[in-house]
């Protein structure tokens, strides 16, 4: 009979219902309203019945009343005028002796989004908020949030927020919980006013209510607690102690919200505290228990565990087994478990993990199998001892001949080869057998790479490459790129020449540049193409550190499921607040953390790590016997000598890779040079820039702005040097370091026979040639000289680090002076780190090595800052915008191979930049920070 209610035909027409609604019989009326509701559910428009339904409202029958209210909530908005008819009943119901009816009225009224009704709601709501019955109060608390959603101003004007705050001290736990929920929601749209006013007293009240309220109420309270920042580690610990019992709750959401509070407050506890260790131990079992929940909850739990494992790997490091995939797990659970298994893999458990992964690789779901194969490769790279076993497992899998398994395996074997060169080449023969089955670009590219890299060991490498060449025109860019590169590698090995012909200008140019390089100087070419490859990072898909911190603050919520900050999927003003983990406070015995904004401390104790690494790319390139450009002209004519053309084309094609179409013959990179450079000087570092850029596919664009050159300063006053005044500065041009000097003769006689020498210094700076003062320096004459420098000189740590002691000799005497160079002078052009490598390195450098620095009163948007910095070889690896804040992740490489990683926080509200710098050699941090300020301000 009820199925009739759901009938969607037009025949169940409005007329019949109208008649029934106006019937005298109660039962008939009720049935009619039910039919109306059913029609409403399936999407039929029954708004025409509005007056008839509202007429049924005034009844003692609670059941009928509820049905009418349901109808009202749905249609009041479309019939505002008629909805007024209902107001009287609502107001009357709010005075009803039965608390259930009072609550029902106030609950429903809040759901009717009609302005006129809202006005009438205020008085009843005020009474209900102070009702003697807790059921009414808890309903009224939520109603304030409803009203705020309709008309925020009204709520404030009427003082409901204060009443709501009072309810936090209510004697009934459920009232407290609902008040907390309502306040939390309202405060989300008022990020600035501290509505919840969390202080130790109110926190205490919340913690008391936590023990007594329903499971849902506990969630509201815990989620609210997570927004509080304790004053010190002691308060933090006492809150943690009162929250931990929640970890045994049957409701997974209560558990996860408790985990969130603990993960957040734990940040403040000193690590040497016993309680810290206890807490860590307490977290593991409940997280594991979450995995025996229903699959949907398991999924939520696994996404969160993924974050927790990245933040605090120690919590679950012994729990690998629980993440083993079960045959019947839904696919989304399987994929997430696999992710966590890779993260937890270590030398201790690798045997078990590999055995499992091998099982998974024979499953049915293609995505899952691919991920499993990839995971085997990750294990090899992560745990060196297992590499051999991983490779043999992968070979077994290749033998299965399942097409996608083979392809995936080849892709990961390539990575293993890169990580452990010249170790597993014995398997190449097996790989080559599978050439024909490769039809995915990534796998083909990987295979071509392998063939090229090990061309010397493959007898028929020629043939194999030729066979790939046949399909060259049809290949995707990824394959062709590798191919061109590989082909060249191969050519280098075999000393034969062959240039691919392609329609893709970028690719073709790259082919040409390699080819020309090859014909100019095969040795140099070998250095360039066979140069060291960038590191393979151990971890994949790591979440950026700041994002990770933010997501930890959102444990249990949708943000933690999506692994995205809330503003990425929430519209409007809600969730805009950007959450961060609290900083560890220094109280009592623990004083391990540096305060934000303060510069690095304890420089002198650490052993000097400023040692140049041999075989560093730039160093190699210095030996290139190629002519530097004599003059930098924006347009390089094709007829120019080979070296220049090569560079022009090279830069162009590389820059072009990131542009839609390569604007072919404009040399971008060399614009910074001035005319003062001597031509034909062998081994000038100027080449470093151009060739270094070959490897920097992302950089080079901002080069045109040039690096920062400080104004000349007087280094040697005339009175100290018998009339010779030397002022100077340092500049980085075209990848080379220059000392630009102005020599002024204030003496009475002519000066000749100039020579210069440097004392040993921190970075091995030394003149790359003699000081070229060709004509004698007459009285009152000033001459400008540019002295090219290299970093091949002897090394000694100086104080300050960037101090340089110089001796200048002329026909009169020898003079000594010291000067300081901006450390940005040493930032090299290939200092752009790969994103993945950046993340891994950032994570890897201990936080003790982090330096915070504040740049005050500075107004420049992030793009301008980024461009400015890039001009001095500070490369932006990634940019993230969080609300009003831009975060720039930047990498810097010094001439001696030291890397510095930076996070630059730019707020549009305050004119202050925050710089966080991580470097394995923390001594240099301070100088880099200073440089940042210098570079930005100029």
């Amino acid at each position: 009979e009820t199925n009739k209610l759901y009938c969607t035909s037009v025949k169940c027409c409005i007329f019949e219902l109208k008649a029934e609604l106006n019937s005298d019989k109660k039962e008939k009326k009720k049935e009619a309203v039910k039919k109306v509701i059913a029609s409403m559910t399936v999407g039929k428009d029954v708004s025409a019945l509005f007056p008839d339904v509202v007429n049924c409202m005034q009844t003692d029958n609670l059941e009928l009343k509820k049905l009418v209210y349901l109808y009202l909530m749905n249609y009041a908005k479309s019939q505002p005028d008629m909805a007024i008819m209902a107001v009287n009943t609502f107001v009357k119901d709010c005075e009803d002796p039965n608390p259930l009816i009072r609550a029902l009225a106030v609950r429903t009224m809040g759901c009717i989004r009609v302005d006129k009704i809202t006005e009438y709601l205020c008085e009843p709501l005020r009474k209900c908020l102070k009702d003697e019955d807790p059921y009414v109060r808890k309903t009224a608390a939520v109603c304030v949030a409803k009203l705020h959603d309709i008309n925020a101003q009204l709520v404030e004007d009427q003082g409901f927020l204060d009443t709501l705050k009072d309810l936090i001290s209510d004697s009934n736990p459920m009232v407290v919980a609902n008040a907390v929920a309502a306040l939390s929601e309202i405060s989300e749209s008022h990020p600035n006013c501290n509505l919840l006013d969390l202080n130790p007293q109110s926190i205490n009240k919340l913690l008391t209510a936590l023990n007594e309220c329903t499971e849902w109420g506990q969630i509201f309270i815990l989620d609210c607690l997570a927004n509080y920042t304790p004053r010190d580690d002691r308060e933090s610990q006492s809150i943690c102690e009162r929250v931990t019992p929640r970890l045994s709750h049957a409701n997974s959401a209560v558990v996860l919200s408790a985990v969130k509070v603990l993960m957040k407050f734990m940040e403040m506890l000193p690590k040497d505290l016993d309680y810290y260790g206890t807490l860590l131990k307490k977290l593991a079992p409940p997280l594991v228990t979450l995995l025996s929940a229903e699959p949907e909850l398991q999924y939520v739990a696994l996404r969160n565990i993924n974050l927790i494992v990245q933040k605090r790997p120690e919590i679950l490091k012994h729990e690998m087994k629980v993440f083993f995939v079960k045959y019947n797990d839904p696919i989304y659970v399987k994929l997430e478990k696999l992710d966590i298994m890779i993260r937890l893999a270590s030398q201790a458990n690798i045997a078990q993990v590999l055995a499992e992964l091998k099982e998974y690789a024979t499953e049915v779901d293609v995505d899952f199998v691919r991920k499993a194969v990839r995971a085997i490769g990750r294990c090899a790279i992560k745990v060196e001892q297992s590499a051999e076993r991983c490779v043999s497992t992968l070979l077994d899998l290749i033998q299965t001949k399942v097409n996608y398994v083979v392809q995936e395996a080849i892709v990961v074997i390539k990575d293993i080869f890169r990580k452990y060169p010249n170790k597993y080449e014995s398997v190449i023969a097996t790989l080559c057998e599978n050439l024909d089955s490769l039809d995915e670009p990534e796998a083909r590219a990987a295979m071509i790479w392998i063939v090229g890299e090990y061309a010397e060991r493959i007898d028929n490498a020629d043939e194999l490459l030729e066979s790939f060449l046949e399909g060259f025109h049809d290949e995707s860019t990824q394959v062709s790129e590798t191919h061109t590169h590989t082909h060249l590698q191969h050519v280098l090995h075999k000393h034969t020449q062959n240039t691919p012909d392609s329609d893709n200008p970028d690719l073709r140019d790259r082919g040409y540049i390699y080819w020309r390089l090859l014909s100019t100087d095969p040795v140099a070419a070998k250095e360039v193409v066979l140069a060291e490859k960038p590191l393979i990072s151990e971890e994949t898909d790591l979440i950026e550190p700041t994002l990770l911190e933010e997501l930890i603050c959102h444990i249990g919520s949708l943000a933690s499921v999506y692994h995205k900050p809330p503003n990425a999927f929430v519209e409007g003003s809600r969730g805009v607040q950007h959450k961060r983990l609290p900083a560890r406070t220094a109280s009592g015995e623990s004083a391990e953390s540096p305060d934000a904004g303060q510069s690095v401390g304890g420089v002198s104790d650490a052993p000097p790590a400023v040692i140049p690494s041999q075989g560093d790319l730039l160093g190699d390139l210095l030996n290139l016997d190629l002519a530097p450009p004599s003059a930098s002209v924006p347009v390089v004519p094709a007829s120019m000598q080979m070296g220049v053309d090569l560079l022009g084309g090279g830069l162009d094609s590389l820059v072009g890779l990131h542009r839609p179409s390569g604007s072919q013959y404009i040399a971008v990179g060399l614009a910074g040079g001035t005319g003062g450079m001597p031509a034909g000087l062998g081994g000038t570092p100027a080449m470093g820039g151009g060739l270094g850029d070959l490897f920097d596919l992302g950089g080079g664009v901002g080069m045109a702005t040039g690096s920062y050159v400080p104004p000349k300063a007087v280094w040697l006053p005339a009175m100290k040097a018998k009339g010779l005044e030397i002022s100077g500065t340092f500049a980085r041009r075209g990848g080379g370091i220059h000392m630009d000097l102005s020599l002024t003769n204030n003496a009475m006689s002519i000066m000749t026979d100039f020579a210069i020498q440097f004392n040993r210094n921190s970075f091995g700076l030394a003149p790359a040639g003699p000081l070229q003062v060709l004509t004698p320096l007459a009285q009152n004459q000033t001459i400008d000289v540019s002295l090219p420098l290299n970093t091949n000189g002897p090394i000694m740590k100086m104080e300050p680090l960037n101090n340089l002691q110089v001796a200048v000799k002329n026909n009169i005497d020898v003079f000594y002076f010291s000067c300081q160079y901006p450390i940005s002078l040493l930032f090299v052009e290939d200092g752009k780190m790969d994103r993945q490598v950046f993340l891994a390195t950032w994570k890897d450098i201990p936080s003790e090595n982090e330096t915070q620095y504040q740049i005050k009163d500075f107004h420049l948007n992030s793009d301008a800052a980024s461009t400015k910095l890039q001009g001095s070889n500070v490369f932006t690896v990634a940019k993230r915008t969080v609300d009003a804040q831009d975060l720039l992740y930047q990498s810097i490489k010094l001439t001696n191979g030291i890397w510095a990683l930076a996070e630059l926080r730019i707020q549009s509200i305050t004119p202050n930049y925050m710089l966080a710098l991580k470097c394995r050699a923390p001594e240099v941090s301070q100088y880099i920070c200073q440089c940042y300020e210098l570079l930005l301000r100029n």
Binding site: P99, W216, D223, R242, A250, T289, L558
Partner: protein, 437 residues
């Protein structure tokens, strides 16, 4: 918070739609149908984001329940709520099916109005709800003032799960220790992972507001007592009898802070049946059965399978409902089975040989052999060899858990702990009990 709740049948027709928030429009109902229910692909996630709107869904038989939101809600809470909603509906009208939902839609709307306010879950304990949800004539209309305030104080109160004034002539309680034992074993007999997930389900028919205390052979408690008492007897009993519990969770009636500090389990139970606790153990598990598989490929068109099962518990106990499921390749053309005990059948539709044994005593073994004929195929993909799985039921707790006591105190009424009739039962069932082959 939750912006709306929709229930669909398998075709994607809406059976229930309740919108709580203004940011959720009618089009959300269609978006979920088109993108999830009617999606060709298998569902890859229980959370779907369509046009900045997030959909959480669970499925019960062929009914879809979806919660919708546009905010950064507590995802775990939404799923817990959806499960709870299923429990409540089941408690009211039985199985969640299209017909039952259609027959009870007014009741469902009334429930949804009560358990979710503006998207915030409210009290969802069936016991409490049944006191005032009007549908199905459970409550006669005119209530006295006392009754009304009793209802509201129960719904909002500290003991929301129990009402006052319950009276039984016979005070009685039943405890069921229900365990499911999970195993993943390698073909060589190595335990890859094993755990027991257990539940203590209580049926209480007790008068008044009884204060209960539950005790079991928890290693931590026994060790503590052993130390405190220092008597030989305590020491002896703690030696082997106690079990290490990895983790446990409790019904909301249990005082968690007391458990955290003293590890004692005390509570005022709901009336009737409920789940007191869940626990998990991984150490010293008694694996009731061992499966020894032997699969041999004879040429390309034949497989020989031999499976031995051994029971590993006291000979006086009987396992029941034993079922061994041996997967067969997709290209199986015929199967011949010989088994010593029970009945075995090849089920082509399930791609498996199903071997059933009604009863089996402890310390016994039984064997099945099968010859599987295969059709020649040119499918390159190898057969994945799914694991052999087992089902069974045994009358003991594989974790070794023992109930030591359940004390009942009701100071206001005149019955004591001794007057309560108590029953304890242990049932161990197979969870995912698999052996790879």
């Amino acid at each position: 918070m939750i912006g709306g709740l929709f229930i669909y049948n398998h075709k994607g027709e809406v059976l229930i739609s309740r919108v709580y928030r203004d940011d959720i429009g009618r089009n959300a109902v269609d978006a979920f149908r088109v993108n999830v229910i009617h999606a060709r692909q298998q569902v890859r996630s229980p959370v779907t984001n369509i046009a900045r709107t997030s959909f959480f869904h669970v499925k019960r038989s062929n009914i879809w329940l979806a919660a919708v939101t546009k905010q950064n809600v507590n995802a775990a809470m939404v799923f817990e709520f959806l499960y709870k909603m299923c429990d409540v509906m089941t408690a009211y009208f039985g199985k969640i099916s299209e017909e039952n939902i259609k027959n009870n839609f007014v009741l469902i709307y009334e429930l949804l109005d009560e358990i979710l306010d503006f998207g915030y879950p409210q009290n969802s304990e069936t016991g409490a709800l049944k006191t005032f949800i009007t549908q199905q004539g459970i409550k006669s209309q005119p209530q006295t003032k006392e009754e009304q305030s009793q209802i509201t104080s129960q719904v909002t109160g500290q003991i929301g799960w129990r009402r006052e004034g319950i009276k039984y002539r016979r005070n009685e309680l039943f405890l069921d220790v229900l365990e499911s034992v999970n195993l993943l074993m390698s073909p060589q007999g190595q335990v890859l992972s094993a755990h027991v997930s257990g539940r203590v389900v209580m049926k209480s028919y007790l008068s008044g507001m009884p204060e209960c205390k539950f005790g079991m052979n928890d290693k931590i408690v026994i060790d503590k007592q052993g130390k405190a008492g220092a008597s030989d007897e305590a020491g002896k009993s703690s030696g082997k009898q106690s079990i290490a519990i990895d983790d446990c969770t409790f019904h909301q009636c249990v005082r968690l802070s007391k458990f955290d500090s003293e590890r004692s389990i005390s509570f005022i139970p709901p009336d009737g049946e409920y789940e007191l606790m869940r626990y998990r153990t991984t150490k010293d598990i008694i694996l009731p059965f061992r499966v020894i598989p032997l699969v041999r490929e004879v040429g390309r068109t034949k497989l020989e399978v031999k499976v031995v099962i051994k029971s590993n518990f006291k000979p006086s106990l009987l396992a029941q409902k034993i079922e061994v499921r041996i997967p067969t390749p997709l290209n199986t053309s015929g199967v011949q089975v010989i088994c010593m005990k029970g009945k075995a059948k090849y089920k082509a539709s399930e791609n498996a040989i199903v071997w059933k044994i009604k009863r089996m005593a402890g310390m016994k073994e039984s064997q099945i052999s099968a010859e599987i004929e295969l059709l020649p195929t040119n499918d390159k993909k190898k057969w994945a060899r799914p694991p052999i799985s087992m089902n069974f039921e045994v009358p003991f707790a594989p974790s070794g858990l023992k109930v030591r006591y359940l004390k009942v105190f009701e100071s206001k009424l005149n019955y004591s702990d001794h007057d309560v009739i108590k029953w304890v039962r242990y049932i161990g069932r197979s969870g995912i009990y698999e052996t790879r082959c």
